[in-house]
């Protein structure tokens, strides 16, 4: 390869992004990953809105992970307004989060990353050659969306979550009725792990600092402390002091670093590596069967961690759905008071942090949203630099695909607001 690579719109990532790699005298001179990041827009858009509108507005940041935006925002607002939710609400929110993991992981595994690993241009060509495989992925995704709809009222942007709980309890039968499909999904997830183990992952390992939520008693998704693989454990309130965002001129996205200026990695690999022991026995067994052990240091193998998490969340969803028995109020009553609070949860793509300031009328005076992809941004660039020396020895097209595949393995949600997924390589 002797020409620059410019990928103006990355295919098969959720949203928009562009990548340019410039060569000088045959060596890498510059790597520019540009991401169009709408959470910044939403921070301004939320200003002056009533606090109870925030969960539904932030849910619209992403068509794939709306629940994550709702869960981090309601927890931040409940902290700001000093609202304590009931244990039943917490369980139902965990079930809602399982729904999102199932639909999001199924989409990424089967439709977004798998084509790279089986040398297909896209899920479309894969669907022609292996229709049953793609059907399995779509059916898994549908089960996640059905559960999301049963709890959240809609299959894409759920609307039932509110500060204090849920607007109403979902019908008991609607939740229990999904158990047979969830049991199918759990079995399909175990098969997904076995199938994923047969794929050929590029040989690429790096030293990473992983950061994920952690709870003593469970595999943390809904809430928890923030744990780093370097051993540091902090509360959500300490997040901004320890993980710093800086503006980078070439991008409208902010880049995150640890307070001592290291890149870090959030997402399924971080969760798996830090919380492996807390996976449900069935998920742990699926990992053991394929010889998958923490730590995984190959970003492409995030797919394996996602597959194991599919087993975990299907199994947890079955337990929570069977336990579901609505009683008492679906949300707590409270009076509005000024305050500030933060909330953090594990979106399928990684740790998602929100902080809000609310005034005495319940209006938002400040909003901060730190999405997982922004936190991984600096790490993605570091990985591109590490991959570049070998990648650029390949022909142009293969080199370009190598870079794209690496980025797709991160499952970046780089805007979730569309668009125009055209791939174009500029020469010269």
């Amino acid at each position: 390869m002797n020409q620059d690579i410019h990928i103006p719109a990355l295919a098969r990532v959720e949203g928009e992004g562009a990548l340019t790699i410039r060569l000088k005298d045959g060596a890498i001179n510059e790597i520019l990953l540009n991401i169009y990041e709408p959470p910044r827009f939403f921070e301004g858009f939320l200003h002056g809105r009533y606090f109870q509108d925030v969960p539904d507005i932030t849910a619209r940041i992403c068509g794939i992970c709306p629940v994550a935006y709702q869960m981090s925002s309601v927890q931040a607002l409940e902290a700001a307004l000093q609202v304590t939710i009931s244990p039943e609400v917490r369980l139902l929110r965990q079930l809602l989060y399982c729904a999102e993991y199932i639909e999001s992981h199924a989409l990424h595994i089967y439709l977004l990353q798998a084509p790279d690993l089986v040398n297909h241009e896209s899920a479309l060509t894969l669907a022609v050659e292996a229709p049953d495989l793609v059907k399995q992925g779509l059916r898994l995704k549908k089960i996640g969306n059905d559960l999301l709809k049963a709890i959240g009222g809609r299959s894409v942007h759920p609307v039932n979550t509110c500060v204090g709980g849920f607007y109403r309890w979902p019908a008991e039968q609607a939740i229990h009725g999904l158990v047979p499909e969830l049991e199918w999904a759990r079995q399909a997830s175990i098969e997904t792990v076995r199938w994923a183990a047969t794929l050929n992952y590029p040989d690429f390992e790096q030293e990473y600092e992983f950061v994920a939520l952690n709870r003593i008693e469970e595999y943390a998704i809904y809430d928890g402390d923030i744990l780093s693989s370097k051993g540091k454990r902090i509360s959500p309130q300490e997040f901004e002091k320890n993980y710093i965002e800086t503006h980078v001129e070439r991008s409208n996205a902010l880049h995150s670093h640890t307070v001592d200026d290291r890149t870090y990695f959030v997402g399924p690999l971080a969760r798996f590596n830090l919380n492996y022991k807390k996976l449900r026995p069935m998920a742990k067994e699926a990992a053991r069967e394929i010889g998958l052990k923490a730590p995984i240091l190959n970003p492409y193998k995030g797919l394996l961690a996602r597959a194991v998490e599919l087993v975990h969340t299907c199994d947890l969803a079955i337990e929570l759905a069977n336990l579901y028995q609505p009683h008492g109020p679906s949300h707590v009553e409270f009076s509005v008071q000024p305050g500030e609070g933060c909330g953090v949860s594990e979106a399928p793509r990684g740790l998602l942090y929100h902080r809000y300031v609310v005034d005495e009328q319940g209006l938002i005076r400040f909003a901060k949203i730190t999405p997982p992809t922004a936190q991984n941004f600096a790490q993605m660039e570091a990985d591109l630099w590490a991959l570049a020396p070998t990648a650029v020895k390949q022909p142009q097209e293969e080199a370009s695909l190598s870079f794209e595949h690496l980025l797709r393995s991160y499952d970046p949600c780089i805007s979730c607001s569309t668009h125009f997924l055209k791939l174009k390589i500029e020469t010269g």
């Binding site: 479309l124 229709p131 779509l138 709809k149 894409v156 607001s417």
Partner: protein, 169 residues
């Protein structure tokens, strides 16, 4: 029933379904939603059409497949990028969409063309007999709730086109 398909069925299986697609916080990306709403106001309000279903969806992705399933005629209304002037209204039939994957296309990740191709590959017998796409050329896609003047002024034409397809002989 194709159990792998996304999204729940609507209450009745109408013979014609109009699906407005868009992202309402992304400028002209919401053109499809706005055009279908205008059609509802202008043409649908006083007419009882039991065999017609209207859906407005943001970012359905592959979930669009579930909405197509079991419907005879589908009219998709969406913002498009076809390298023409902002506000241009296009009418494409299903077979014309085959060429609609690169260089032009629906604005939504899993674009209309890709989703239809996936449907044809996986569930050919469950796909609608005919699919029309009414595409409105988007101009301004910056974040925000308003449409550009060019797209705003194209909405009556798009609404009229929806009505023509609905009432054609």
């Amino acid at each position: 029933m194709n159990r792998f398909l996304d999204d729940a069925r609507t209450e009745s299986s109408g013979t014609i379904k109009i699906i407005g697609i868009g992202q309402s916080l992304r400028g002209d990306d919401a053109a499809g939603l706005a055009a279908v709403r205008l059609w509802q106001e202008k043409y649908q309000a006083n007419i009882d059409r039991p065999n017609l279903i209207v859906e407005l969806v943001e970012l359905p992705g592959v979930g669009l497949l579930g909405m197509l399933e079991g419907t005879r005629t589908v009219i998709l209304v969406d913002a498009v990028h076809n390298n023409t002037k902002a506000g241009m209204v296009h009418l494409f039939s299903d077979d014309q969409l085959d060429a609609f994957t690169e260089g032009a296309g629906s604005a939504h990740g899993w674009g209309v063309a890709e989703t239809l191709s996936l449907g044809r590959a996986l569930m050919p017998s469950a796909m609608p007999e005919e699919i029309f796409l009414i595409g409105i050329e988007a101009g301004d896609l910056t974040l925000g709730e308003s449409l550009s003047p060019e797209v705003e002024s194209a909405l009556p034409e798009a609404a009229n086109l929806i009505e023509q397809v609905v009432t054609r002989g």
